[in-house]
Symmetry: C2
Subunit: 660 residues, 2 copies
């Protein structure tokens, strides 16, 4: 076990994600604007219990009560504080994109309130302050104290980066000083960790901001202790008399695999348990592997990445096959209609993918990042920014969602802010920090992971180069890079060849430019040369609609096909295809035609493809020997991320495939 | 509302099921023997907590404690008494088939114990006697007092019919006298009914045995009160402080539809709630409709029959689409892998079908009865008679049953006697009374509902005719009836033309005999003539394997087909077809070949049919644009009722169908 980070020069900062990227993209700016103009203000109201139609959050009121400025009962989940933190983190990112004095004033006011709720010893958590004073750190398994601290650290870092204001940062440094006295291997300290991983990745961010290694050491401590024997969570559970926070009855069994604490993390090979916890942990593991040069941890990250993305990931980038515990189940078990695929889990998968990209520049990580972003995550938010899916199904029959209890967790329409509101603020913080996911830099190579319009300035060999990317994704595959500099700079621009792209055409300064197989490395096309201002690189990514098939071991998708065009997975809805999507079957060698959508946001391309519809002849029995007849129809498919915006109806991603 | 039975001469006993039928059949006698030789003795041991590997039942011990002959705590469910009753009922039927002094001695001993547990006022229920004395009739919703009484009445009737002994009958008459004082429309009486219907159909049986109309009136009272306003169950729930027996916390909501008490029964048009409760109620409704000539009730029965069998019944005769509440969901919602299809519910459907046959001679009722019998019910019991399925899925992936919590209720192998042991004794009582389901008689027409080898003697116009049926079902479609009499008798022998039978060939006294469309009435071929001893009617039911398709509104079965041969639904198992049954697809116009099974009970025919297997080329991704290739294979299908007898493996009834 490697409890002390081994920070070697060779591994340290070998790669990083440039942060000074300005996003300016015809597709994505709409969403970052939406987050700034609608989501953040709406969520601010929701946190203050003023969002019409949404359940009261209690989150801000809890801080007021904890600060002694109001009286009342604690409201909401035990982790309600984290909603405030995620909002502040999103504000931090948003202010980095565009200053906003009023928003900053609101944030400062909240931060002042948070500081007032902090105890003199540094402790910060409104649940324990209000509801269970004296019982701090007695139920790490359920009560999310370190989780909430982690989110507040992320908020503090983002807000400091945006404003240079360190008030929240100092609050959280004092909290960590306190945590450092509680947790550790010394006599009287807890050799424990949180039931919900989050603080580990947050501590890495704080370390990167401050350079203080003790934050990295604390993150490594939590990661390394997890799953060791004797099992901390089991011992804690025994101390609590086998009673949980959420179920106060005495229980026979605590499933530590739910918390990924069933094995030391280095030995884990399969993604198990609560999906969000898992990917937050993997993210921190990948961070630590990179920053400490820990090969064993890196190998565990690769194994877990492989398990998640090769056997337990939906085509939309969703993870978590069951709503029981919002959890992974087992390899190739990907039911479409009883799915969970929580929005937060896909966001965590994006975090994990980004950290893996920093570990090693392989395009497959960016492929998954893009898949989750354009489909599961984007689809979770309504076009109004005020309604969200928590669960992101691949198959919906609205009546079943209402009338079959096994599908009650699936909603056919996006809901206003949830009682457990983890997803909406998580979407907000991801979308407002999207500029950080576009590039990674490793030495003199700049890797383009996402084709999203943006600008950044990087220095190569002392020369500053401004790189302006224009992209027309997801509707067209045209991408253009303009170099701006007064001097020449030698570096490699590495362009990702997306996994969905059968052909990528390259033009440099207007000239068609061939490339050799040697230039293709792990899914990136490396363009190494001495670049000068005025150089133009143009890329045309072939963007044709295709049928996509799952590995046959995925029982749920056998003899079915999905439609994908570029990064977008498509789906069929009743709004276009009538009832009984399941009765449709794609035709053999059917060509797709594209057309602009009339009833979806501007620019949306819908696909049409010849299909058959099965029709049962009127009969007096439910089962008959006569096969249904087939009627030729046009099937209309829309981007998955836009489903559920036109009223309640059926939806399916996986469609019956033509047979041989 | 019709609270008083209107017993008109025209409706009374218009039809009945002859009871003096002796079953002697190469296929079914094996099962009735199994019930007598293995199941009844095994269940006797189980009731006495002596069955190895099975959970202790406590059922007999509860009676000992209630009788003051033992000390201890009540063990088991609140309805544990009913297990003893169902066993006694099965014993009654079994003794009618074959005398057995030792078995009768055991039953007498138990009956003596039951009598000893009865209170002086007639009350009989070990749960309330031992555990909640003084709280009788305070929780009809949950506590099954009338349900247990109902089963004991059924046992008393069957045991009296077999042995002429009236000890248990008198016990139950005293119990009903007591119930009659508690329930009714008088001041101080409960205008209520049981949370679990059962006593209603039992009271009808008692009425038929005794001719005492007050039993019929009490049955009608329970049926008529159900679902009336103010709602008895809701009022009772309020009186209990909104606490349930199974969940002592205060609850916000009582779903009276679960108990089919959401509407007066005459207004009900859709099968809702707990499936067993529903079909037990429908059975009693059909009984009452027939015996009282209640046209409104008859119409309700027809509507509910239609709803169940046209929209909510699996091809195996299973009902109940969700394990949440073991319940119906809604029309055409028939998921195969999260199904419930409880054994008891199919047995209840058989009861309902038989009563509908008595209401009107339509072969569709017998079709459903046969479907449920040969598939869901027969499949629930292992060939050893000691292991049972409670849930009867149409699609099984064993790993999912273990690792996906939404499928934990589904077992890939039959289990020894359950903690909640309703199903095994229910199977035993059905199979040992199977002789009662073969025929119905209406006037001078004898309807043959099931082709099962048997003998009966009926009188027509004063002439006694012995009719001996020989049948080779389910493997061959040959059936033969021999008439034995010294005199001629004029009557109609109505032969059911099964819904699965495309062609029925008839020979009378060795001569091929054509029949006219006029002779076919509601699915029966009516052979009316003056029959004499020595007459031989032979029937050849075409029994070819066919593909069967579900109505396209059943989303789960779209583009799939099942295989049926005669009354048997077939399925594909891993034992024959390897893993990944979902990767198989039937070929177009593929012919079935039949062969005897090597590893299944003698006589079993397995089917082989050309198919394709999808194979994913080795790849490093879960999703790819390359379609899986197809490999030609032979698919082997075995009768559904024999699945799960050769170790854990995948199973599917619905197979991917060839496309046009």
């Amino acid at each position: 076990m490697n409890t002390m980070p081994n920070r070697s020069a060779s591994s340290m900062n070998a790669a990083h994600a440039p942060q000074g990227v300005t996003l300016n993209d015809p597709f994505w700016s709409r969403y970052t604007d939406l987050v700034r103009d609608v989501v953040i203000p709406y969520q601010y109201e929701a946190l203050h219990d003023r969002a019409p139609g949404a359940e009261p959050s209690g989150a801000v009121q809890n801080f007021r009560i904890a600060a002694g400025r109001a009286e009342g009962e604690y409201v909401g989940w035990v982790f309600q504080d984290s909603d405030v933190a995620k909002w502040l983190e999103a504000v931090g990112y948003s202010l980095q994109i565009q200053q906003d004095a009023e928003l900053e004033r609101r944030a400062d006011e909240l931060i002042e309130l948070i500081e007032a709720a902090q105890h003199p010893d540094g402790y910060l958590n409104t649940y324990f302050t209000i509801k269970e004073p004296g019982r701090r750190w007695t139920n790490l398994t359920d009560c999310h104290e370190l989780y909430c601290a982690g989110h507040m650290i992320e908020a503090a870092v983002a807000y400091y980066e945006a404003t240079g204001k360190d008030r929240l940062l100092n609050v959280m440094k004092r909290m960590i000083d306190h945590i450092d006295t509680i947790f550790g291997c010394e006599e009287g300290q807890l050799r424990g960790y949180d039931g919900h991983q989050e603080i580990e990745l947050a501590l890495v961010k704080l370390y990167k901001l401050t350079g203080e290694e003790r934050y990295l050491r604390l993150a490594a401590f939590f990661i390394n202790e997890r799953g060791q024997q004797p099992n901390f969570l089991l011992e804690e559970w025994e101390r609590r008399g086998r009673r949980g926070h959420f179920n106060p009855n005495v229980q026979n069994h605590l499933d530590v695999a739910y918390f990924q604490a069933h094995q030391p993390v280095r030995e884990q090979a399969e993604a198990v348990g609560h999906a969000v916890r898992a990917v937050y942990m993997y993210t921190a593991m990948a961070d630590l592997a990179r920053l400490t040069g820990d090969a064993e941890l890196e190998a565990a990250c690769r194994r877990l990445w492989h398990n998640v993305t090769r056997t337990q990931m939906y085509i939309t980038g969703g993870i978590g096959s069951t709503h029981h515990g919002e959890a992974f189940t087992f390899d190739f078990d990907l039911p479409n209609d009883t799915i969970y695929a929580e929005t937060c889990a896909s966001i965590g998968l994006i975090f994990f993918a980004q950290r893996m990209l920093l570990l090693e520049p392989k395009a497959e990580y960016a492929d998954v990042m893009e898949r989750a972003l354009y489909n599961n995550v984007l689809g979770s938010m309504a076009q109004d920014g005020k309604h969200y899916f928590y669960v992101n199904p691949l198959e919906v029959w609205p009546q079943a969602c209402s009338c079959n209890p096994g599908k009650h967790h699936i909603k056919a329409e996006r809901q206003a802010w949830f009682g457990c509101a983890c997803c909406p603020p998580n979407v907000a913080r991801l979308l407002s920090s999207l500029n950080r996911y576009i590039y990674t830099r490793r030495g003199d190579t700049l890797y383009t992971n996402l084709y999203i319009g943006s600008e950044l300035t990087e220095e190569f060999g002392g020369v500053s180069m401004r790189i302006k990317q224009q992209a027309e994704l997801p509707w067209s595959g045209r991408v253009r890079f303009d170099m701006e500099s007064d001097e020449k700079a030698t570096f490699s621009l590495a362009l990702r060849v997306p996994g969905w792209c059968p052909e990528m055409t390259l033009f440099i300064n207007g000239q068609p430019t061939a490339y050799t197989p040697e230039q293709l490395q792990d899914g990136y096309l490396l363009l190494e040369r001495s670049w000068k201002g005025g150089d133009v690189i143009e890329v045309q990514l072939a963007m044709t609609a295709s049928l996509v098939y799952a590995d046959v071991r995925v029982r749920a998708d056998n003899h079915k096909a999905a439609i994908q065009r570029g990064p977008l997975v498509y789906c069929a809805e009743s709004a276009d295809n009538g009832e009984l999507i399941a009765a449709l079957r794609l035709r053999q060698q059917a060509a797709f035609s594209e057309r602009p959508a009339a009833d979806l946001p501007d620019g949306t391309l819908v696909l049409e493809v010849p299909a058959y519809r099965s029709i049962t002849e009127p009969s007096d029995t439910l089962y008959h020997t006569q096969a249904p007849r087939s009627e030729a129809v046009q099937l209309t498919a829309i981007p998955y991320f836009l489903w559920g915006n036109r009223g309640r109806g059926e939806m399916a991603v996986w469609l019956n495939a033509p047979s041989e």
